[in-house]
Amino acid sequence: MYKYNEFDEAFLAERNAQFRAQVERRIDGSLTEDEFKPLRLMNGVYLQLHAYMLRVAVPYGTLNSAQMRTLALLAEKWDKGYGHFTTRQNIQYNWPKLRDIPDMLDALGEVGLHAIQTSGNTIRNTTADHFAGAAKDELTDPRPYAELIRQWSTDHPEFQFLGRKFKIAITGSPNDRAVTKAHDVGLRMVERNGETGFEVVVGGGLGRTPLVGKVLREFLPQADLLPYLEAILSVYNVLGRRDNKYKARIKITVQENGIDTIRAMVEEAFMGLRGQFDGTDQQLLAEIKEHFAAPDFRSGSTEVFDAAYANDPVFRAWADTNLAEHRAEGHAIVTISIKAHGATPGDASAEQMRLMADLGEQYAYNELRISHQQNVILPHVHKNDLPAIHAKLKEHGLATANVGLISDIIACPGMDYCALATARSIPVAQEIATRFDELKMEHDIGHLQIKISGCINACGHHHVAHIGILGLDRAGVENYQITLGGDATETAAIGTRTGPGFAYDEIVPAVERIVEVYMARREAAEETFLETYRRIGMEPFKAALYPEAQKKVA
C-alpha cells in the first residue's frame, strides 16, 4: 500500500496549519463567509442542512487498519459516533463543529489521509475497482496509476479552477466495478499485442444530463498516461463552458463539440505535452508500484472453510453472497455489508470501523477497501479464516448476507442531511430493505441493484441502477420517480423513466410491484432482473405500476 514520504507529510501538515489559521480568522470575524467559503470547500468542509459536513477522501478506496481506526476516532471524538461512506470512495462526517475540523484534519494527516480536493472544481478523488489487486479477473492492479494521478493532480496549478468538478475512475478488470463509463474520464486497462495500456473513455456522467462516456482512445500506452490526461484536461479547460454551471462538465463539451473534434484537439495537445514529461513520472510510478506489491499470500488447505460451508447454512448463505473470487489460491475477497436491513446505507459506527480495522489487520494483510457501493471490503483473506471472521462480524451486526441483492441499496444522504436535496433518500432505502427482508424474498430475487438519489445531482447513481429512484419536490410534497434498466458495468446504460412519480407512501409498494413482474416473467431463477427487463421491455412494468392509465387506454 502507498506510504507517504516526508515530503507528503510536510505538505499535509502545512496545508492543515494554513486551514487552521483560516478557521481562526473566520471565527474572529476577520474573514467574511464569502471569503471563507471557498477556503473551507478546498478542505472538504460543506455546510449541510443541520450541520457542517467534512468529506474525507479514501484514495482509490484503499486504506490500512491504522487509517480505518483514525476514521473511527474522528467519528467518536468529533462527530456523533458514525461516518457515512459514499459512492466516491469518500467518508463523510455529518456533525463536526467548525472549531474542531482543524484537529480532525491533523488526526487524518498523521495517518496519511486528507480532505484535499474532495470538493471544488478540481480533479476529485480518483476512484478504482474496490477489488483491485485481488480480483481473479484482473489484468493489472490499477491503483499505482490512481496514485500517480493523485500525486500529479494534487494542487496542480492548472487544474485548480476548472469549469466544474472532474472525476476519474480506473479499473484493471474487464468486469467494470468502478463505473468508468459514468465518469468524466474512465480508464480501463486493456491488453494489445502483449502490452497493457488503457482504453480511455471520456464524457460520461450522471446528474442533470446523464451520459455514458465515449471512447477517446482505444489504446494508450501506460507511459503516456499523464501527458494524455493533461491533454484532456487542458482541452476541457479551454473549451469547457463556464457560462452555465449545468453545462460546464466535460460531458457537455464532448456532446457539443463531438468526440472527433475533442479527439483531434486532445491528440494535438498530447503531442506537445508528451515531450515535457521527461520520464520522472515513470520513475515515480516504478516506486509507487513497489508499494502495491501483492502480499506474500499464504498457502495451505481450505478444510476449515469447507467444513463450515457444508455444515453451517447461515455461514453458507453469507459466503454465497458476500465473497468474490480471489486471484490467489485458497483466498477470497470479503465484502462486509454495511447495509443491515433497515440501517442507513453506507453508515458505519466507530465500533464497527474498529472491528473492521482489527479484522483487516489480523486476517487481510492489513488492508481494507471502501466500495463505491458503500460497503467495506477485506481484499485478501485465506478461506480458512472466513468462519472466524463471519462469527466476529455477526457479533457486531455486520454479517448481513445481502451483497448485490435488493437490500444492498446505494442511497445518497438526501433531505435528511443534504442542503441541495429535494426529497429524502435514506428512509426510502430503509423501508425497501425492511420490506423485502420481511417478505424473505431477497435471495430468491437474486442480483438486483436499487439506487436512490434525493435530487437530480444523482449522487446515489440512480441512473445506472436496475431500479433507480429519484426524489423530487412536487408542489411541496416528496415525490419519487422511477427508472428501470440502468447498468453501471462495462455494458453501462442509463435507465428509462417508467412514467409519473410516486408519493412517499406509494414508493415501496411500487418497487414491490416491479419486483413481482420480474418474478412472474423471468424465464429461470438465473435470469437476472436486468436480463428480464432487457428481454421484455418497459411495458409489463408500466402496466403494473399504472393500472389506471392502462384502463383508460383500453
Binding site: L47, L49, H50, M415, R424, D473
Partner: protein
Amino acid sequence: MARPFTPKVITANDLLEGDVIYFTAGNTWTRNLSEAELITDEADAQLRLLEAEKQNIRIVGAYLADAKAGPNGPEPTHFREDFRRTGPSNYFHGKQEAEANV
C-alpha cells in the same frame, strides 16, 4: 391583484455549530422556530433580512423561509423547513435530540 404575501421567518446556520437558527423580533438568534419572528409584511421582510445579515460574523447563509402562524409560534409550510426544524429521519440527532436534552 397582487398575490397575497406568504409570511416568512429568517433562518440561517450558526457559524460554530452549523445548526439551524432563526431570527427573533429582538434581533437575536434562537434555535427554536417557535420563538422566531413571523414577518407578515412583504416590505418588512427584506429590511429584517438586512438586519439579520449584519450579524454575519456569527451566522452563515441567512434567508427568508416560508412559514405560517401556529398556536405556538411560526410553523413551516414546506417539508424542507420541517426537516430543518427537527433533524434527520434516520437518527434521533440534530434539533430533536437537542430539545430532548433541554
